[in-house]
């Protein structure tokens, strides 16, 4: 009898301690962009070492889905490559903050037998190729930009694009719309557009395998994807007139160049930013956070955001993401400080809010 009582007692104590342990763990749910997912995953797993009581659950379902889930209140934070539109922001009762997390870029890659080095391209020619106006690689306009390269004769250009709706397409088409009035008139910009010509592949891997298989093809992928697979890429002529290759550095430069014109809510496009050594097809990716949160979970989220602006940024370049410029980090930190935690120890504050 005594033995079984002890076992029973032990089990009860065990359950209670388990219960209290479980209560301490805070589960933070998020959903959204796929592009920054490798970085976020690294952040979330590393952050476990900083604060053991926080557990992140991030579903990389895409920016559009992320925004919808966040607005529906299913998740604690959202993530999107493109900033939310005004009418989307208006749907929320609580103000929403855009926290720039990192920077990415779109690289234009190609497959030309015999051409291994990078090629030069101006935005106008790029737009004409993707509209199907320039049909062959030995076109005058391409030859003029690359006088030293021997182009294959009579080789047709096969345009490859993302068939799935994606932030990458949104950034790429927004850039082309900015640099080509013809593009703006005929195609426009968005996560999925009506392509006049070519082949569609699903995801970065779909596009890149199409490019790999078809000699004479051209396609656009996320910069880190092009690096990891060692694809040849184009140097694109920027607003200043330099031909710049995509790189972690040239993308951070794009953010630096546009700091002065950065609006208060950080919702901005930094394609075709004016400055030297700037890669012109760059973009921010954002975490979406409510400005007013319940204090227990909210505090954990705020702590994490602050960490991501410090230690988090140093992890970016190792994964081929561009870290935010220092000046911007300061502005983001002061923005994070505007987050209000409801039901906090300061009871007067809490009363005011209610």
């Amino acid at each position: 009898m005594a033995k079984s009582a002890i076992i029973f007692f032990g089990l009860v104590v065990g359950f209670f301690s388990l219960g209290s342990f479980a209560a301490e763990t805070v589960l933070i749910n998020g959903a959204g962009a796929t592009f920054p997912y490798p970085l976020y995953a690294k952040w979330f797993s590393t952050y476990r070492e900083v604060d053991k009581s926080v557990e992140f659950n991030y579903q990389s379902i895409g920016s559009g889905g992320g925004i919808r889930q966040f607005l529906a209140g299913t998740t604690d934070f959202g993530a999107s490559d493109a900033p939310m539109k005004d009418d989307e922001l208006a749907q929320s009762k609580v103000p929403i903050l855009h926290i720039p997390a990192t920077l990415g870029a779109v690289a234009v890659t190609f497959n030309l037998p015999g051409v291994k080095d990078s090629l030069n391209l101006t935005p106008e020619v790029l737009a004409k190729i993707f509209m199907g106006d320039i049909k062959k690689w030995d076109d005058e306009e391409i030859l003029k930009l690359n006088p030293k390269v021997v182009m294959p004769k009579n080789q047709y250009i096969i345009v490859c694009y993302r068939s799935d709706g994606s932030g990458t397409t949104a950034v790429f088409t927004e850039y082309l719309e900015k640099v080509s009035s013809d593009w703006k008139k005929r195609i426009g910009s968005g996560k999925s557009v009506k392509w006049p010509a070519g082949l569609g592949g699903k995801g970065n891997e779909g596009v890149s395998s199409l490019v790999k298989q078809n000699p004479g093809s051209i396609g656009y992928v996320e910069m880190n994807y092009a690096f990891e697979n060692k694809f040849p890429v184009f140097a694109i002529k920027n607003a200043k007139g330099d031909f710049v290759l995509p790189s972690v550095k040239s993308v951070t430069k794009a953010a630096e160049a546009s700091l002065k014109s950065l609006p208060e809510d950080f919702r901005v496009s930094i394609t075709e930013a004016a400055g030297s050594d700037v890669y012109p097809i760059s973009a921010y990716t954002y975490l979406l956070i409510y400005q007013k949160m319940e204090s227990h979970k909210g505090k954990k989220i705020v702590d994490f955001l602050k960490w991501s602006m410090g230690k988090g940024q140093t992890m970016a370049s190792g994964l081929n993401y561009a870290p935010l410029p220092n000046q911007l980090v300061k502005r983001v930190l002061s923005k994070i400080d505007t987050i209000v935690l409801e039901g906090s120890s300061d009871k007067k504050e809490a009363h005011k809010l209610n």
Binding site: G190, V193, K194, L199, G200, G201
Partner: protein
């Protein structure tokens, strides 16, 4: 009028066999266990039906804004542009129907031949492992087919199959344009491979059901082996082969991932097998997660609804054929 009143119970009986005799059976059973069992089964069956109806209703509700906006034009226009907000599903319907029918056309003769060989001609030591391997094909997830299609099949078609077709038959619209590997042809081939195990397995069952004496009788009358297969096996299993075809067609119509990977994802209506195309299920897989506007979401739901209608129409049509074939054999 009289003709109609005759028809209605006939059709009802076709949809729900035994509907007219169901009551009699129920009155007879008095055992409580039987009764609970009976209602349990009945509930499961009805729940499944209700779930289907609920899903149709839900998809219809979601697609209503798009149908209100475009009306019947949704089915006959060909523009799919989320920037301008113009949505028409004709090219998608074309892509789905053509790729599925062509795949079935390719798969059925091969499947029937495989089933005949395994059941009637191959020795036991060969037919067992071979049959097992064919059935294993059905267990491969479709994304694996898709990746295989993208990395192996499409380059193979591009390098070895399409260039000679373009050289010798390039004057026909079927094989015009530059060979690019991915496109309608790759989709048809991958779908054919995917539906083949299903059709083969059912055909084998159908052939197995034919009494041995039929074959012996045919041989006894002096038929050659081929004539025996034709008279005793194939001729009496038309309905079964058709049924297998319908099931295969069902799989082909709804197949999403494998097709999305290899079809080129450009909503074009082109006679050329080299051209890219887009199917209804592939545009759903491509655009649903990142749809920008509510109208686009609604248009995508409308595509889902259309896919449902098309599958229903084709399956209904196929079922009609089976009835006709069945009744022919019963009367003849």
């Amino acid at each position: 009028m009289e003709v109609e009143s005759k028809w209605i119970p006939f059709v009802l009986e076709r949809i729900i066999p035994g509907i007219s005799s169901a009551r009699r059976i129920r009155r007879r059973d008095v055992n409580w266990g039987d009764r609970v069992f009976y209602y349990g089964l009945k509930l499961s069956a009805w729940a499944l039906g209700a779930l289907l109806l609920y899903m149709i209703l839900l998809i219809w509700k979601m697609s209503e804004p798009a149908f209100q906006m475009y009306g019947w034009r949704f089915f006959v226009t060909n523009d799919w542009n989320s920037v301008t907000g113009e949505f028409g599903a004709l090219a998608l319907i074309y892509g789905t129907v053509v790729s599925s029918l062509a795949a079935i056309g390719l798969a059925v003769p091969v499947s029937v031949a495989v089933a005949l060989f395994l059941n009637e001609l191959a020795p036991e030591w060969l037919s067992r492992p071979l049959g097992f391997l064919v059935e294993m094909l059905a267990a491969i997830p479709s994304i694996v087919y898709g990746l295989w299609g993208l990395f192996v099949l499409a380059p193979f078609l591009r390098n070895y199959i399409q260039p000679p077709l373009a050289d010798y038959l390039g004057f026909t619209p079927l094989f015009s344009g530059p060979p690019m590997g991915v496109g309608m042809m790759a989709a048809v081939v991958i779908l054919a491979i995917m539906v083949m195990p299903t059709i083969t397995a059912i055909c084998r069952e159908v052939f197995r059901a034919i009494p041995r004496s039929n074959r012996e009788a045919a041989l006894g009358l002096g038929a050659t082996r081929w004539e025996m297969l034709k008279i005793a096996v194939l001729r009496s299993s038309h309905a079964g082969i058709l049924g297998a075809t319908i099931l295969g067609l069902g799989r082909a119509l709804g197949e999403t991932m494998a097709v999305t990977m290899v079809i080129g994802n450009n909503p074009l209506i082109s006679a050329s097998l080299f051209s890219s195309a887009q199917t209804m299920s592939s545009i759903l897989a491509n655009q649903y997660a990142e749809a920008d506007s509510l109208l686009q979401l609604s248009a995508l739901s409308a595509v889902a609804f259309t896919l449902f209608l098309v599958s229903l129409l084709i399956n209904g049509f196929a079922r009609l054929i089976v009835w006709r074939v069945n009744s022919q054999y019963k009367s003849g």
